[in-house]
Amino acid sequence: MELLENTGDFIKIGGILFGLFHFLVGFVFYRDMIRINRVLKTENSTLFSFITNLYIVFLIAIIIGFIIV
């Protein structure tokens, strides 16, 4: 019963840790995307830069969501 009462805390802590780990992974991906966009410019480079920036913001929003809720 005590374990079940603390489920919300477990989810919160687990979620924050997951969010941080995912953010680190996503940041590596973001950095690789910046590099490849510098090396190779295609017709959609601007769009992909925007999508990658949005993706990082989304990852940060998940971490904030776990902290706030």
Binding site: G15, D32, L40, K41, F58
Partner: protein
Amino acid sequence: MNQQQQNYNQQFQQPHYQPAQQPRQNYPPQQYYQQGYNPIHQQLTESHQVIMKHRKGVGGVDLEPQDVKFATQNPNERIFVFLRRHWSENITWILRNIFYSTIPIITVLVVRFLDLDTTFLRMQDLILILFAFYSLIITNVMRDFFDWYFDPYIITNERIIHYEFKPFKMYEVKEANLSDVENISETSAGLLAGLWGYGSLTVTTESQLEKDVIVFEDIPNPTKVRDILFDLVKIAKKYNGAT
């Protein structure tokens, strides 16, 4: 020397095309300037004619793309062919990610079927867990898409370049001069390859080393690309080292 030849000389005698005190290796010999034409211009003109001949009927292959540039592109270097692997390469990861995205629905159905107690989970927790799960799927989709999208093969008037970008894993660039290409072989195997018309080209250079082999994997219209590449290699060898 007539007016046209004079114009060629004036137009193309830029500082870095001037013969140095000690000419570089493979630099165009003096006779080209004495004859009054620039070999780089000539090569570009002939290469352009090869590409224009293939303008129609090369679906899935971008000829003379306007908006593509790469970091080590030389001033007189033009991209003639830009292509990626056939779109059917994406079917596997699309289906895989569609399956992953149905996992929450399957979980809900299983929980209801087994009549499990889920009252310990608040609605906010469920929503956050779903967000976290779908963020993983989004990461997966982006990784798989960019793995395909940023894996192009570029053929210019000087060289062949293959960028291989595997997110989280590696980034590799292979290039070979057109004048060093010795052998081009085409392979098209499998039912889907025959159905959708894709195949592979293996380009071997003079060194014959495995690491210097460039493989155009599962590209659309491999026969046409092989034809274009062979014609460009012939032109490059004709002006061997002129660029």
